[in-house]
Symmetry: C3
Subunit: 112 residues, 3 copies
């Protein structure tokens, strides 16, 4: 099993959610975060000494899925979150060691 | 070392915290998130074209523990977070590669 | 590639951000959380039956980096977040299986 974490533009969340529901995604979690990325480094290194704190609001999505579904979900997410401008964000994948349903105690892919 | 991540009903947090303190858990982190899961798919596929955005508030818990303690913590968490209704949530376990205490620089299990 | 997750004192975030920008960190994500740790267990076990709920605000930082940069970032983060008092927090490192840029679809270290 895999965990997908995506950091996206907040205003793209509805489009991403639509795209993921369209491929019958069973569930996802969303949280508001803030971040900085390369888009903030454009004027670097002129600001090494006196840059301002410039985090921007971002949205983080977390999805746990089977290994078989991972690439499909990542690609749907990437296409839906894409605007073509800096700050579009990143998607990362991690290994899941164990999954347990709180409702029925089922483990592994039966838990999701 | 292991990382436990649980997505639970927000109103179950106090009960979960009690259960984890009862087994002497050394620490945990909590954050407010929102999510959707299978409980929102009950009327699917009638809503493929015009479903509404229906994230519900959830709470995420993060715990880092020794591999030896992991199963005990997962089970205590699962029992405490269980209501028997859809939406109870899930628990996932991940591998931790490295742990460092900011206070004293100790690493591995000495860090937690 | 590695993921670094740090749980730090909220009031140390600006200093940590400065330290990480000083080593040219390309990006990071920040979120407000709450937690309890060993600093809350000082009077334990006198409070087994009637402890109060005492989460304190903390800040979580997430950074994805190349394996080659990981130790340098962890050390810069640790030094900058250190006050010498309980509650300073922890840093954990995880393996990243896959990274994708939403902007250009590049994968691996080219994505970050």
């Amino acid at each position: 099993m895999k965990k997908i974490e995506a950091y996206i533009q907040t205003f793209m969340l509805n489009k991403v959610e639509d795209a993921l529901r369209a491929i019958h995604l069973h569930g996802m979690s969303v949280m508001d975060i803030r971040g900085f990325g390369r888009e903030k480094d454009e004027s670097y290194p002129h600001h090494t000494a006196d840059y301002t704190v410039n985090f921007t609001p971002k949205t983080k999505i977390e999805i746990i899925c089977s290994a078989a579904d991972c690439d499909k979900i990542v690609e749907a997410l990437r296409k839906a979150a894409h605007t073509g401008r800096k700050g579009d964000g990143k998607i990362f994948v991690y290994e899941v060691s164990k999954a347990v349903s709180i409702l029925n105690g089922k483990q592994g892919e039966e838990a999701i």
